[in-house]
Symmetry: C2
Subunit: 324 residues, 2 copies
């Protein structure tokens, strides 16, 4: 089968491509050809033994979407997006990339005769806005409070409608906050959730800008790739008309993150966390969801970690070369 990954240069896209290169398959199905696309040519999965094509392309440019679907990939993974902060700062760009880009892809698929690919759409918890119940259920209303969340919610509605019409066979994945993100600290408001673990595990100081009782929803990068692998080959019939789901994850407080770090890496790692309250970050994070009841995703076979310790051990295995 043929798979095309749009947004393949991002963290999840890279890991997905590398996983496919490593296993030669997705969801148990052999992958013969893999096309990797991003606004910069993705330089990953070069050891893939099947046919591998990689190029730079922007979904929002005329003709690009049609080119992407011309060879009828069986599975299309659509990860390309402008992130939350940039979509808020540049409204036009956010709508152009996150809404028009997605729609261009779906319209291009509609234009190919006798074709109904599996389309995996990266959505976000940002489709939900406060006020929240303690635990957010699968039928919680779409109430985005950012332009990014609005665009992702509109994409979900499109995915549902195009699936209902039989133009494509969509699965929408609302990713938890991915933790521990590998690499350098970034400026995202959520960055500290990874930073307070990643930096100490690498012997460096990390800053904690919020209170220890802040709670949020997490999964590992490995779980994120796992969602896509499952979505690629799952039976979509049980999803009915509602194709988009919040993914399972681990609800944890900052205090629980820190205790998991202590269990895995000891007091000396925890001592590297420096508390430096930041009212701005605290107020942003206060509007984020804390916990979910992901019955639909669990019943249809999606899995994540069971504890924050497991999330940390996955980082040690996947990013620091420690054996399981």
């Amino acid at each position: 089968m043929k798979i095309t990954i749009i947004g393949a240069a991002g963290m999840i896209g890279r890991k997905l491509a590398e996983r496919i290169a490593q296993t030669g398959a997705i969801g148990g199905q052999t992958v013969d050809a893999m096309t990797l696309v991003d606004v910069v040519a993705p330089d990953v999965a070069t050891d893939f033994t099947g046919q591998r094509v990689s190029y730079a392309a922007d979904l929002t440019e005329a003709g690009v979407a049609a080119k992407l679907v011309a060879d009828k990939p069986d599975v299309i993974v659509h990860l390309a997006a402008i992130v939350s902060g940039e979509a808020e700062a540049d409204m036009d760009k956010g709508y152009r990339v996150n809404l028009d880009g997605t729609r261009a892809l779906l319209e291009a698929i509609a234009g190919v005769p006798d074709y109904c690919p599996r389309v995996i759409y990266a959505s976000s918890l940002a489709v939900f806005g406060a006020p929240f119940p303690t635990k957010i259920s699968d039928d919680f209303n779409l109430t985005p409070l950012t332009s990014y969340g609005t665009q992702k919610a509109m994409g979900e509605l499109l995915l549902n409608d195009y699936s209902r019409r039989g133009i494509l066979d969509g699965v929408g994945i609302r990713f938890p906050t991915i933790c521990i993100r590998p690499g350098k600290p970034n400026k995202a408001a959520s960055g500290f959730f990874s930073g307070i673990l990643r930096e100490p595990l690498n012997g460096q100081e990390a800053i904690l800008p919020v209170d220890d009782d802040v709670r949020h929803w997490f999964a590992s990068p490995r779980a994120a790739v796992g969602y896509i692998e499952h979505a690629a080959m799952m039976d979509t019939a049980p999803l009915g008309a509602q194709r988009c789901m919040t993914m399972p994850g681990v609800s944890a407080t900052v205090a629980e993150q820190i205790e998991a770090l202590r269990a895995v890496a000891g007091d000396e790692a925890v001592a590297l966390i420096r508390r430096e309250p930041d009212a701005t970050i605290a107020s942003i994070v206060a509007g984020w969801p804390r916990d979910f009841d992901t019955v639909r995703a669990l019943e249809t076979g999606f899995r994540a970690e069971n504890s924050f310790e497991e999330i940390i051990r996955i980082y040690l295995e996947d990013e620091m070369g420690q054996s399981a």
Copy 2:
């Protein structure tokens, strides 16, 4: 103040324009200028004593939206839409008019400096899809099962985001099924809800294609105009980020409709209803909502009828010239 009505040739647009012509005001505010636009030039409210402009224009054509907002109307009522059946039959046209047309209007408003008009957006119960609880609450999820409902839900999300950003001050109105629609029978699946009352009131036979226990959500054309009048001048602060609401109405079964007809017009009117079951219509209507708990709309001042008898008496007053 200046008001612009887009979709002014439709049933609700005409009645709204005529009401403004009659009272010279909306929501207690004097209307100095009224612009009426539709794909055919609206020929209504010709007795309006203020400045009245009427022309044919299509929001989906380049430059039209910018022209509509160039004179900075204080209130814009956006009623223009492709209806459900046509949006399902012609997918491109539905998305072009219902989604792109709405977006063009909002974008044009964003392009006018120092401008933040009240925008009243006609949404629909079609943003909701089965399975339903017995009574649908204000926080029921957006689960459209038609392209029309998808487009209206996407428009709601846009209205919320553009309002949150301070580009406009939106109010989204999800209309109940309007009953009794004046005029001739039409081919809409919902047509019989008006037909079984309107035709007998005019001494004609009507066909009832569904069972007597079918329940649905109704309001009169007068109530529909009333929602817009209220939305034009209401305080939107209590709405917060969620600008779209299901409007109050009357939940009634077909049997209750018929008993109301009997109370108002007697047995001879009821005898004109002929039962002719239609499995296709019955199955479409089976997927429709039956009852709503419209707390938000009621708390923010929207009103409708309190009984089906009242709905019938309004038809007699407004369409058959009977005095109250």
